[in-house]
Symmetry: C2
Subunit: 533 residues, 2 copies
């Protein structure tokens, strides 16, 4: 938070100072004086107080009690723009204090306070707030029916993939509840705080953080976008704080209306892919209900079609932007390509049967029977997304990009390094992904809850193409081809559920279905025969 | 046959006179002298000889025995271009003799002979030849795999519907075997004869015949077309005659190659409908096999999908040109319109389910289950026909034209008159259609072997639109709107198989499914409650 932002927060805070009824050591207005604080004298290290003591009472070294500004329970002060601290991940919290202390994260108030905390004190206070429950009243679910005209809700839950801009929830979890230590909660943070942070990333005033995702995100957001998405999350915290935030931001309602989607900005290397109709054009009536249901199934497959799903994935994990995104096997391109012969099962498949294949393999489940409303809805949604696309046409952006063969043979060890650097923050060091509120946020890439050995993604050229085009989320195209091949090989060298077409032995199954250099099924990696129990 | 044509036949005949080994009273060459015969003296009516006697011996009145030129069994003389007489319908035969006699059908040889036969003698000889078996060796089936590059076979079996030109087989039956009295056999007729007749119709040298269909047909055929289609049927008769015809027409192979399809000529009132890909573009491989199978099922539904069909219809009876024809519910327009909600069954139907509806109602059968190869093939074929059509697009030419409401309320009695004049020749006075070689040529329009009360065609606005656009076959647009409404009402006022959704009583079924002025189900016509046993 730079001075200008801080001063703006102060104006709002002053106007609403009467609303603050917490037992604070001083009013927020009092802190306006500390924007240019005298530098505290360095003191020798002493016995460190507990995290709770620091939070509630401050330190003998002049550090003010955290609760002074951040609320008695660390719930934050929406009106003042002081963030919620309760329930933040300890690693994230500690890292922020370190960044304040050395000036990478600019904030005139926090810098001297953080500097006056020893590393041990920072850890202690981080652990304390991390252990505190999230403020009550935070909405933990996003509305099921966000519309593009509500640009804050849309950006938060759907993103803007024409610009490779992921939705907030894709990293911060449903409802912005936060995921792991890398992705802090957004729910319960005030609009002023969120908007200020987005501006800080856009202007280089905050460290780039995990995978430098947030500077990339913020660079794609207009002022109106930031305001709208901040308002969206401002409606999520506890009742009184939310009301205060709404009262303090009277201009927000009009501002959010101007946060319309900019013109599509397809990737330079993607040609001019087909553009599916905008969400706002989704039809109504009974057909529209089927289209909408299809979209919901596609985005939250376990929730809407759970009995056909055998893992933790959703269709949209591999078909980004709810099946809209070019070069991410978009539904519109698939719809116009069926019926077609598939060597995978040796006959002509209708689109419906192709969908069944996704359930049987990618979803490691049991496909709905033909005619099941789940399949009808998915077909309806796909058909609608394909509106105007030429039947049988080889539309640009279909499937995943076909990467040229790697310069060096794809390598597990190099892939492991790529994984650790670019993937583990989201998918976990163990590849098991991450969830929030019982919903998968980052899908498991291998193991019992991932796609099985019959899924297309288990073939390295498919995985490499997907990864190159789309990973890390929102940073598609940043890995080299070699890195994509290597990390795809690493991912697909791990064990996963058996191919449902298993022929009695791994060798027979490989001979029948996997006799290709792109499949590691039936090969030995690190002493383990892939595909064996 | 005018003089020029006759003389051309004679040149061919002379060249091959040696091939003629029949016990004739004179050689064909001898008849060249009779192109300007002396007018026989009129003789008083006398006891008429039998048809067989006339055929074998001629008459005392100077009429030469028919077999002299037409072969001992009435099999014709391909080399000379003298037509086959054996097995021709008696009514057709008699009408031709009458036309020769009064000069409406021009032929210098036949005119004096026909004039010298009394009406009774003409009837007798017509009946004699009608009772004779068709020449042996005639191919009774068309090749299953005609290709557009074989323009003769293509015109004979598929027509050229861009010009509203029906296939020969659509009236003359499979293999050109002939249908009823109005449509004589083509199989077993020589190329020279067929080509000459087509030219005669084109140039007004033959009476227009049934519904004036043949002048309309011939007007759409180029010289090369006529030659090609004549050659196609010239390959159909008995071995020796066919060989002779082939030898006599060495130019035919090259000529047929020039009989390519002209540029599409859409109807003036049809806008610019979508053009499906040409048959020559049909893909190969396994997918192509499914497409081809779909086309075969569509054209010969009983033959290729019999267990799902409960009547004598084929899909192509209502979807002309094998589902290609605009304004005849073309498959390409249907494919891009599904999934869609249908009030008929109250939910969103995929294209596959829509196809099932056709089997259950229009085909009065039991639909194949979803995923059945029959449905997959039909969907493949439809998809291929729709190549390049925009998904969800309202393509011009879809469905049947929506006729404006008739000026006068549609009327059964007027419809009966229209039917007798324009429809009965093909569909029969009893509406039961006509078949040949066990295959339906003209579909039954009502009764047990027609579509049931659940089919779309039982609704008068659908039937009127179809009829206006497409009936009589090849003469679409010739009926007035009023005539189309009247005859549709006449057709749909007849009994047909029960609606499979029958609700226990006609009244309940009407209330549930047919409560529309366009459905006569459940109304009383001529004292009969339609829909009751």
């Amino acid at each position: 938070m730079n001075f200008k932002e801080f001063a703006r927060s102060m104006r709002a805070a002053t106007a609403l100072a009467i609303a603050i009824a917490l037992p604070v050591l001083g009013t927020p207005a009092a802190y306006a004086q500390s924007t240019q604080p005298a530098k505290p004298a360095q003191t020798p290290k002493q016995l460190e107080p507990s995290g709770r003591t620091i939070a509630m009472q401050g330190t003998a070294n002049g550090v003010v009690a955290c609760v002074t500004c951040h609320g008695a329970s660390g719930e934050g002060n929406a009106a003042a723009g002081f963030p919620r601290l309760a329930g933040l991940g300890a690693d994230y919290f500690e890292a922020q204090l370190a960044a304040f202390a050395d000036g990478r994260r600019e904030n005139a108030v926090m810098q001297p306070l953080a500097k006056n905390l020893s590393p041990g004190e920072r850890k202690a206070v981080a652990q304390y707030f991390s252990s505190q429950p999230a403020p009550k009243g935070i909405r933990t679910e996003d509305p099921a029916d966000a519309t593009p005209s509500d640009s804050g809700a849309w950006l938060a839950t759907r993103g803007r993939w024409q610009q490779d801009l992921p939705a907030c929830v894709q990293c911060h979890g449903p409802g912005g509840a936060g995921v792991g230590s890398a992705f802090p909660p957004l729910a319960g943070q005030s609009a002023a705080y969120i908007e200020a942070q987005l501006n800080a990333w856009k202007n280089g005033k905050r460290p780039p953080g995990t995978l430098a995702l947030m500077p990339a995100v913020a660079s794609k957001l207009s002022d109106a976008d930031m305001h709208a998405v901040a308002q969206y999350y401002a409606q999520q915290p506890s009742a009184e704080a939310g009301a205060a935030a709404a009262a303090s931001q009277p201009a927000s309602q009009t501002a959010s209306q101007t946060a319309s989607q900019p013109a599509a900005q397809p990737k330079a290397d993607a040609g001019a892919p087909f553009q599916p109709p905008p969400e706002s054009a989704m039809p109504g009536g009974d057909f529209g209900k089927s289209v909408k249901l299809g979209e919901q199934i596609f985005r939250h497959t376990g929730q809407y079609a759970g009995k056909f799903v055998g893992n933790s994935l959703s269709c949209a994990n591999c078909h980004l932007d709810a099946g809209r995104k070019a070069n991410s096997s978009p539904l519109w391109a698939a719809f116009v390509a069926y019926p077609a012969y598939r060597s995978k099962n040796g006959h002509v498949n209708t689109f419906a049967e192709r969908l069944q294949g996704c359930f049987n393999y990618s979803m490691n489940g049991k496909a709905p029977p033909l005619g099941d409303p789940v399949l009808v809805a998915l077909e309806s949604y796909s058909y609608w997304l394909a509106t105007g696309a030429p039947v049988g046409g080889k539309v640009a952006g279909r499937g995943y990009p076909k990467l040229p063969a790697p310069a060096q043979k794809a390598d597990y060890a190099r892939g492991a390094t790529v994984y650790a650097q670019h993937c583990a923050a989201c998918h976990g060091a163990d590849g098991q992904g991450k969830s929030s509120n019982g919903q998968t946020v980052f899908p498991p890439l291998w193991g019992a809850r991932s796609f099985n050995w019959g899924a297309g993604m288990h073939e390295t050229q498919n995985a490499a193409g997907f990864i190159k085009a789309n990973m890390p989320l929102g940073l598609g195209g940043t890995l080299t081809d070699q890195e994509a091949w290597d990390v795809a090989t690493f991912m697909d060298s791990h064990e996963r559920p058996q191919d449902p077409r298993f022929k009695g032995s791994v060798a027979q199954t490989r001979a029948k279905y996997h006799d290709t250099p792109n499949s590691l099924y039936g090969t030995v990696v690190n002493g383990h025969l892939l595909g064996s129990p």
